[in-house]
């Protein structure tokens, strides 16, 4: 288990972010949704506390908490007044090491998971982006973090117990703490609470197996929802920020090319975006635009045209705007222990070492427009995956047959 602590003595709060290597990528397909269900079940009573007692203790400590699963991790986090941190760490140590996993509550937790799946199906944007993710990363790494109805229905108590025993363990787990804390004291608290946690070998991370193509989901929706993606390099890659700056120029801020050229100048849509998403070894640029059916074809064409011509007319001013934006965000991150703790944990997971704010600042500051252009000339967007949802199918570029 890795412990990372950043003191932020100017704050009144502290926050932690705990990531375990227990994501949807280690589920077997027949029980898709198991990691999420286990993440829920461990919080239904632990150590000497019932489910209700846990919530009552957390509320009384003033903890604003979150939990959930991602492709490769199960995550628990909370922010709170700094004086609550010691008890909070002890409580979450119980949750991830000694949960009751009460069999009589499995049915309730299962119904909860099914509610989430049905609700997501009612969000067209979610449907498009989830289907796109599957096409992009393939059936394992592209899995929905909510699982499938069939998978959730098949889960037995023995599956819950065995997933917990296999994947809730110290190896590969990361605990990041930020806020008004003393580093040595935090180490000591973590040692007291997690020192005896078992360590088992980690399983290999699956390879991505996405495919290019176009898929249309027919719907009577008011808008046509368009999702597209293409391969890129993950966070931590030596050239990452050259790539990321290009996507920033394309989509970060109100003067970005997609917002300015697709929305502001042509009025084609309300939402149009592109962003980078990284797994440990794979990554993608994912884009979305929503527009009424009669403007959908034009919106797709214009949007992809902007992406494909990213290197044309790149200016230093565009890069500088993006640099100032990221620098401001990094400085403002110092105002929030929760946001800092979560960045520390995800940086470490991706890169395998902590990254300081200063290191990020200088990596971004040193970028030049030539570097960004060269990167994108050498790695042009292509092999698109496209998913649309709406009344009609659209025409997509030739290479998507």
């Amino acid at each position: 288990m890795t412990i990372l602590v950043q003191p932020m003595p100017w704050l009144r709060t502290a926050a932690f972010s705990l990531a375990l290597r227990a994501g949807v990528d280690v589920e077997s397909t027949s029980v898709s949704g198991l990691s999420g269900l286990v993440c829920e079940m461990v919080q239904r009573g632990a150590g000497s506390h019932s489910s209700r007692e846990l919530v009552s203790i957390q509320d009384n400590l003033g903890m604003d908490r979150s939990s959930g699963v991602s492709t490769s991790t199960s995550n628990f986090g909370a922010s709170m007044p700094a004086e609550s941190l010691r008890k909070a760490i002890a409580l979450y140590a119980e949750i991830v090491q000694n949960p009751h996993l009460p069999e009589e509550q499995l049915e309730d937790a299962r119904l909860m998971s099914l509610q989430e799946i049905r609700a997501n199906e009612d969000e067209p944007t979610h449907r498009v982006m989830q289907r796109l993710r599957q096409m992009h990363y393939g059936p394992v790494l592209g899995r929905s973090t909510h699982g499938t109805q069939d998978g959730i229905q098949s889960i037995k108590q023995s599956d819950v117990r065995s997933f917990f025993e296999s994947y809730y363990q110290a190896a590969g787990s990361i605990l990041a703490v930020a806020g008004n804390v003393d580093v040595d004291q935090v180490y000591q608290w973590v040692e007291e609470s997690f020192g005896q946690w078992k360590t088992q070998p980690l399983s290999e991370i699956a390879a991505a197996s996405g495919e290019t193509g176009y898929e249309h989901l027919t719907s009577g929706s008011s808008q046509t929802h368009i999702g597209f993606s293409f391969d890129t390099i993950p966070y931590g890659h030596p050239e990452y920020f050259k790539m990321r700056a290009g996507i920033g120029i394309l989509s970060d801020g109100m003067s970005s090319r997609l917002f300015d050229r697709v929305r502001e100048q042509q009025g084609l849509c309300y939402t149009v975006t592109a962003s980078c998403h990284s797994l440990k070894q794979h990554a993608g640029v994912f884009g979305y635009a929503g527009t009424t059916p009669e403007r959908a074809q034009q919106t797709l064409d214009v949007t992809l045209d902007e992406v494909n011509h990213l290197t044309q007319g790149l200016t230093t001013a565009e890069l500088e705007r993006w640099q100032i934006r990221i620098q401001s965000l990094l400085i403002m991150e110092q105002e929030s222990s929760a946001s800092r703790a979560s960045s520390i944990a995800s940086d470490f997971y991706q890169v395998g070492r902590p990254i300081t704010t200063q290191e990020l600042e200088s990596a971004i500051e040193s970028l030049t427009v030539d570097q960004v252009r060269d990167y994108w000339l050498n790695h042009p967007p292509g092999d698109y995956r496209i998913v649309t949802l709406g009344p009609n199918r659209l025409s997509t570029p030739q290479d998507l047959k």
Binding site: D59, A119, G290, T292
Partner: protein
């Protein structure tokens, strides 16, 4: 501790600031008393449409200049419109204060050109279509339309596709001059900022705003109350063929911004409907009966509403609705417990402290309150109010608001 300062400029523009020189950032926002409740039928959607047009350029800046300069300041900025206000805001590093104020202030003298108006009309129509596809598929707007009537507070913020298609740029210019008078606006600021510099800059840059009220033409026409505005229906059922879940919204009267029991009402809402550990959570969410089951009070200037929101599968809607009613009945008859109150106060107090750490979080309460009531509440004032709530206060609020069953309900589902 942060320092509060306020002043009124010679043209009537009010300025309120909470200054904390320890901060890494500063947040600034214009709060305009212009929302959908101020509109007539032919103006329906104008407050929000105008909000979009403020980003379309001024006498000295093109639309591209406005957006580019906002980005050059690294500002995390945007705008929103409600039933009662339109707000333009950004958070920047302290060194960018002067440039941001120059930009935001200039934006509030928009060019409002015919060409930009036509392009932006399409964007607004797209925004309306976007929300038609999203849960709860118009159920909140419909509940307000039924509860308050389709005008005033019940008027939709975005307008309707019909009202937006019929809108004219000249109607917008007239509405702008009427609503964006300096005495109808507040500039609020929070965080690490230079107050004296702010005031002297604003005095110069907004001097000409005082002429706006002179330019307003005749008074607005009165709507025909016997007919529904174009595009409005008052059906309590919204049929959305492809959806899986049912979405129920219930609305009843609640505390206003000036009600003495509004803090008790917030505590009550947390005990009944908070997302973790409330009565609705244990009965409906923890058991997997519903995806969402919650309540909250929404305070307007002169009145307020309670919203109850329930999302579940259509076949469980009736049973879940009964469970919700049972929770209301129990709390009216038996009140709340000491334990529930302590837990909620501890959680809410921590929430206030955590929220107060970012200037951008503090800005909205500060500006909105100064605009509507001219009052300031520090973080410590808020903590004192929450901590002084008693079991009786909360139990009485439950009796006052939930004893009689006078409410309106809207359900969106597939049939």
């Amino acid at each position: 501790m942060p320092e509060f300062r306020e002043t009124t400029l010679s043209n009537g523009l009010r300025v309120a600031a909470e200054i904390d020189s320890r901060g890494y950032s500063a947040a600034f926002g214009y709060f305009v008393r212009a929302g959908s409740r101020n509109e007539t039928d032919p103006q329906s959607g104008l407050s929000h449409f105008l909000e979009h047009m403020m980003f379309k350029g001024t006498a000295t800046r093109t639309a591209a200049d406005v957006n580019r300069q906002l980005d050059e300041l690294g500002g995390q900025g945007n705008a929103y419109t409600t039933e009662e206000q339109t707000v333009y805001y950004a958070t920047v590093l302290p060194k960018f204060q002067d440039r941001l104020i120059d930009l935001l202030t200039d934006m509030l003298s928009p060019a409002l050109s015919d060409e930009d108006f036509e392009t932006e009309r399409n964007v607004i129509l797209e925004e309306i279509a976007k929300y038609e596809d999203q849960p709860p598929f118009g159920a909140f707007e419909r509940s307000m339309e039924i509860h308050y009537g389709p005008r005033g507070l019940g008027r939709r913020v975005l307008g309707t596709a019909e009202s937006i298609r019929e809108m004219t740029a000249s109607r917008m210019r007239d509405y702008f001059l009427r609503m964006y008078r300096p005495d109808n606006l507040v500039l609020a600021a929070s965080g690490n900022l230079d107050f004296d510099g702010l005031i002297s800059q604003l005095e110069k840059q907004t001097a000409h705003w005082g002429e706006r009220h002179l330019a307003v033409s005749n008074a607005s026409a009165v709507d025909d109350a016997s007919a529904l505005p174009p595009g409005i229906s008052l059906d309590q059922r919204l049929v959305v063929p492809e959806i899986n879940q049912s979405y129920l919204v219930r609305i009843s009267n609640g505390p206003s911004e000036s009600s003495t029991d509004r803090y008790a009402a917030r505590v009550l809402a947390s005990i009944i409907g908070d997302e973790g550990g409330s009565r609705m959570f244990w009965d409906l969410i923890d058991t997997g009966r519903a995806e969402v089951a919650t309540i909250w009070p929404h305070e307007f200037t002169d009145c307020g509403a309670w919203f109850t929101y329930l999302v579940c599968s259509p076949q469980d809607l009736h049973a879940n609705r009964n469970l919700v009613d049972k929770i209301f009945e129990d709390i009216v008859n038996h009140g709340v417990t000491d334990e529930e109150l302590t837990q909620t106060i501890n959680k809410a107090s921590a929430g206030i402290i955590m929220q107060s750490e970012r200037p951008s979080n503090r800005l909205f309460g500060l500006g909105s309150r100064w605009l509507t009531s001219g009052k300031y509440l520090s973080t410590d004032d808020k903590l004192d109010r929450i901590k002084s709530i008693s079991v009786d206060d909360v139990s009485n609020a439950a009796k006052d608001y939930f004893s009689d069953a006078s409410y309106h309900e809207v359900v969106a589902s597939k049939e």
